[in-house]
Amino acid sequence: MKKWLILMTAAVIVAASLPLHAAAEAPYEAYTYNYYRDSVPLPEPFLPERAVSGEDLGLDAFKSPNDLFVDKNGDIYILDSGSSRIVVTDGNWKLKRVVDGFQQNGAPSSFANPGGIFVHDNGDMYIADTDNSRIVVLDGSGELKSMIENPQSDILPANFKFAPVKLTVDGAGRVFVVARGVYEGLMQFDETGVFMGYVGTISVTQTFSDKLWRRLATKAQRQTMQLFIPTEFSSVDIDHKGFVYATSVDPTSDTTIKRLNPSGQDVLKRFGYFPVRGDVRYRQFGNNAGPSRLTDIKVIGGGMYTALDSFRGRLFTYNDEGELLYAFGGKGTQLGVFNTPVAVEMAGDKLLVLDRGKNNVVVFKPTLFGSSVHKATTLRYDGNDTEAVAIWRDVLRMNSNYDIAYLGIGKSLLMEQRNKEAMEYFELGMQRKYYSIAFKRYRREVLQEHFGGIMTGALTLVLAFVAYRLTRKWRRRASKHEAGAL
């Protein structure tokens, strides 16, 4: 018996001293913000799998690539701007073809520092050929289909130079373009390439100190002051419903991510604790200070979208309600952190990030935590709250500090009229609005259940009080009579 005990103890000690079998260590810490504005560590939602460079594909190295796109068949398009070519691979990174030009009226034509690429579901490639001031549309075989150049309109200035940077196309073939030097919003072209107008103008915000300065300055000083012009958009993407997601780099704005409806209004839901703008807690002065610079956005389905912060090299994924699901990434030289990330894409369940500084594409594969969060969010988005609950419970086992999971379970319980349990989950998830709803229902339930008891108690109390007053009155009168008698 004693020997057995010693053996057991030894085994336990040995087991404890062995390193836990953990997945590959990530060079970053994932986090989200809790109710108190603290960044709370999360299990990594994605782990870097590999980096794909030009050499890996059997080509010469990429030269400052600018954009990346994954079409609906899973083919990957890398816009290798420095070498003026488009590298197309299949989903397993097997080279399919390289497009480095096209025939225009019988003469070969090529790209000049193209900024963005979009591939339509029908296979058409839209390339924002920035330095050639045009948008080139090639069909699936690389033949020129049409071209958008020289937009004509009364609202464009006479010396307007068209420099498209990023673009996206909706189901009907309308093209939304981010153009350099255009502050009025996104340029919208119809399916024949005619300029239709601007959508989603960013409003100018003037801070109080700006106003004060302007007031104090003399007229001559005011003329040399910086103009208050709105910021440009930095990238666009489109979801399956035809809503355009756009990011802008505006350090003073709380709405750097916008979701534009067809009439150009921003309809992004912002129900989370904090504004949808990347980091909400950052240094104000010194090194690495300032808000996130969101330079790319990708709609990843289930109402979720991922925004790329090129300043600190982080990826932020939000759900359809504007709640931050997770943030991860960073700057550095290891696999999984970036030098100059410029584009983010989703290929299947994997996340691709194009790094212009490192001239490669980093492939991230989801962990159990990441894929569970995605699955549960998608289920909830589609209205299958009950199915989502089981997954949310798994998520909570992996990370019991995850407010969104509590919220998800709470909402489902609320729908099943399990109000008391729902209250508990809403309190854990710090959701006062939903807590109030659950509590209201629960209170009504309790009151209805104990209506008889409560009324009896109240009535008894009233009767007892009345009796007490009557006796006192009666006694007083009696003593007065006595006094009067004496």
Binding site: E427, R432, K433, Y435, S436, F439, R443
Partner: protein, 206 residues
């Protein structure tokens, strides 16, 4: 102390002019009662911060500390009394320090009376009803301020205008006291380390 001493604060908060007058000239107030009310106030603050309903309680539970709550209730109370005493002594106030303590302590009673039950009731409120929570909270504060005003006025035999002036000056004096206290503390620390450094220097050289 007799029962009437315990009942007297309730008379004061409902009939402040009468109550504070009798407190000063008929000796009906007791400093001990005032301190009991302050203790109740501490209890009230601790309970409210910890146990007020989820919908009205925005405190970070990780930062709740009852010792801090005691400090932040008792010290301002003492600070106010001292500052007010200092100011009114210079401004021909007739009140003694014990009377200032009594007036301030008795004036706190409505806050205790309203907030203690309110903390409990707030646990049964929905979002729409929390407006009443804030309403009653505000009423308590207003009642307290009114009593403080009347108390100071009666205790020092001031006109209303002079009362307001002294109250404002009291707030400034509180700031001055805090500033001087901090200054004194930091100087004391520096002097202490000066001595310690000399001692160390001597030890190392000998």
């Amino acid at each position: 102390m007799k029962l009437e001493h315990y009942k007297y604060p309730f008379h004061v908060i409902l009939h402040p002019f009468d109550g504070f007058w009798d407190m000063k000239y008929e000796g009906k107030g007791k400093v001990r009662i005032a301190l009991i009310i302050v203790a109740m106030m501490v209890l009230n603050v601790v309970l409210q911060r910890q146990f007020a309903g989820f919908l009205v309680n925005f405190n970070d539970p990780r930062l709740l500390n009852s010792l801090d709550d005691i400090q932040y209730t008792v010290l301002p109370f003492l600070l106010f009394c001292i500052a007010n005493w200092a100011i009114t002594t210079l401004m021909e106030g007739e009140g003694k320090f014990s009377e200032i303590v009594m007036a301030t302590g008795y004036a706190l009673l409505p806050l205790v009376l309203i907030n203690l039950p309110l903390t409990y009731i707030s646990r049964f409120m929905t979002m729409e009803e929390t407006a009443f929570y804030y309403l009653f909270n505000a009423l308590g504060v207003l009642w307290f301020l009114y009593l403080l005003f009347v108390g100071v006025m009666t205790v020092h035999q001031y006109t209303p205008f002079k009362t307001i002036m002294t109250l404002l000056l009291t707030v400034i004096a509180m700031g001055v006291v805090v500033f001087l206290g901090t200054l004194l503390f930091s100087m004391a620390v520096q002097m202490y380390y000066f001595v310690v450094d000399i001692y160390r220097e001597l030890i190392f050289r000998m």
